[in-house]
C-alpha cells in the first residue's frame, strides 16, 4: 500500500459520526484509530468469499479464483465407475491408501480396475487420446493419493500421459460429510492447462460429482477440453454427471427464485450443477431450507 496511514487520515478528517458509519461501528473505528488494519477489521468473521478488497491494490502474485467455474452440460456426460464403495472399502489396502500410502493406493487401483474393467472402459478413454488428470487434494491431516494411483494405472494400461501440474488448492473436508456441506464447500483448482488439449478426469470416489464438475470447469475455462470421467468407486446413481434438461427444468420449476442468489453465492447458475446436485436440491422443501442448510454447511 502506497500510504500505510491513508485510511486513518481519511477517517480522522471525517465528522466522528460519519467515520463511525464508514467503519460500521464505534468499536471498529476505535480499533482502526489504534492502528489496526481497516481491511482486517472489516473482514473479521466474514466468509472469505465476501471479503472487501481495495481496488488496484498491488499484488505480488496472481490471485487464485475463489469461486469455481462451471460450464453448462450437454446432459448426458457419464462417469465410468469401477465398482461399489463397499467393494473398495473392503480391500485390505483401502485404509492405508486413504491415509496417503501410494503403494497401497496402487494395489487398490490394480484390484478395482482389473482386466474386465479395462476391456469394458479402456477403449472409450484411449479413443480421445487425453491427458489423464487426477484430483489431487490435501484432505487436512493427509494427502489422499488414491486418485493419483488410479490415474497412473489407467495411463500405464492405455499408454496415456498423466498430468502432474494441476491440483486442488483448498481443503473442503468432503469425506463422510453431508450433501449440504459438499455443496457449500466447493473444490478449487490451480495449475497449467494446455489449450485445445483433451483431458480425462479421475477421482477416487464420486458422490454428487461437484469436485469433478469444478475440475472440468477449471480446465475448460483455461482452454482445455474435457473428454470424460473415471472414478474408482461410487453408487450407480452417480453415473450420470451432466445435468439432464428435464432435471434442470424440474429444479427451476421448484426453486427457480433461488437461482440468482445461487449464482452470486457460487459463481454459476443452476445449469452448472451436476445431475446429483440438482436432484439433491429438488428434494429440499423450499428455497429457505436450501439457504439455511448451506449457511450451516
Amino acid at each position: 500500500v502506497l500510504r500505510p496511514d491513508a485510511e486513518r487520515s481519511f477517517l480522522r478528517g471525517l465528522p466522528a459520526d460519519e467515520a463511525r458509519k464508514v467503519m460500521g461501528s464505534r468499536a471498529r473505528l476505535d480499533a482502526v484509530m489504534k492502528g489496526a488494519n481497516p481491511l482486517t477489521v472489516v473482514n473479521a468473521r466474514i466468509d472469505p468469499l465476501y471479503h472487501t478488497r481495495l481496488m488496484g491494490e498491488p499484488n505480488d502474485r496472481p490471485s487464485l479464483a475463489t469461486l469455481p467455474h462451471r460450464s453448462a452440460w450437454n446432459g448426458n456426460e457419464p462417469v465410468q465407475i469401477s465398482g461399489s464403495v463397499a467393494r473398495v472399502q473392503g480391500h485390505p489396502d483401502y485404509r492405508a491408501a486413504k491415509q496417503g500410502d501410494s503403494r497401497a493406493a496402487a494395489r487398490l487401483a490394480m484390484f478395482a480396475m482389473d482386466a474386465d474393467f479395462m476391456a469394458a472402459n479402456g477403449r472409450a478413454i484411449a479413443a480421445e487420446n487425453p491427458v489423464i488428470v487426477p484430483v489431487h487434494a490435501h484432505e487436512g491431516v493427509s494427502v489422499n493419493r488414491i486418485s493419483a494411483s488410479v490415474a497412473q494405472w489407467l495411463g500405464l494400461n492405455l499408454h496415456l500421459p498423466v498430468e502432474s501440474g494441476i491440483v486442488q488448492v483448498n481443503r473442503v473436508g468432503h469425506t463422510r460429510s453431508t450433501g449440504w456441506h459438499r455443496l457449500a464447500n466447493q473444490a478449487l483448482f490451480a495449475g497449467a492447462v494446455e489449450p485445445g488439449r483433451n483431458y480425462w478426469l479421475v477421482d477416487d470416489f464420486i458422490g454428487q460429482g461437484g469436485t469433478l464438475a469444478n475440475l472440468r470447469g477449471y480446465i475448460q475455462s483455461n482452454g482445455g477440453r474435457v473428454s470424460g470421467f473415471t472414478v474408482l468407486a461410487g453408487q450407480e446413481r452417480s453415473a450420470i454427471l451432466g445435468l439432464r434438461a428435464e432435471t434442470l427444468a424440474e429444479l427451476r420449476n421448484k426453486h427457480g427464485q433461488l437461482e440468482n442468489w445461487w449464482r452470486q453465492r457460487f459463481g454459476f447458475g443452476f445449469d452448472g450443477l451436476t445431475e446429483s446436485e440438482a436432484r439433491y436440491l429438488i428434494r429440499a422443501e423450499n428455497a429457505d431450507t436450501i439457504r439455511n442448510r448451506l449457511a450451516d454447511g
Binding site: R103, H136, A148, L156, V162, S164
Partner: protein
C-alpha cells in the same frame, strides 16, 4: 485456501505419488512394462 508454497508442495507430492505408484505397478505387473518397451 492453500498458500502458494503449500500448492507447490502438493504439485511435487503429486509427481512423487505418480512415481511411487509406477514402482509398485512394476513389482506386480512387469508384463505391462515389457509391453511398453517393445511397443
Amino acid at each position: 485456501m492453500l498458500t502458494p508454497s503449500e500448492i507447490d508442495w502438493l504439485m511435487d507430492d503429486l509427481a512423487n505419488s505418480l512415481n511411487v505408484a509406477m514402482d509398485e505397478f512394476a513389482i506386480h505387473r512387469p508384463d505391462l512394462f515389457r509391453d511398453q518397451h517393445t511397443a
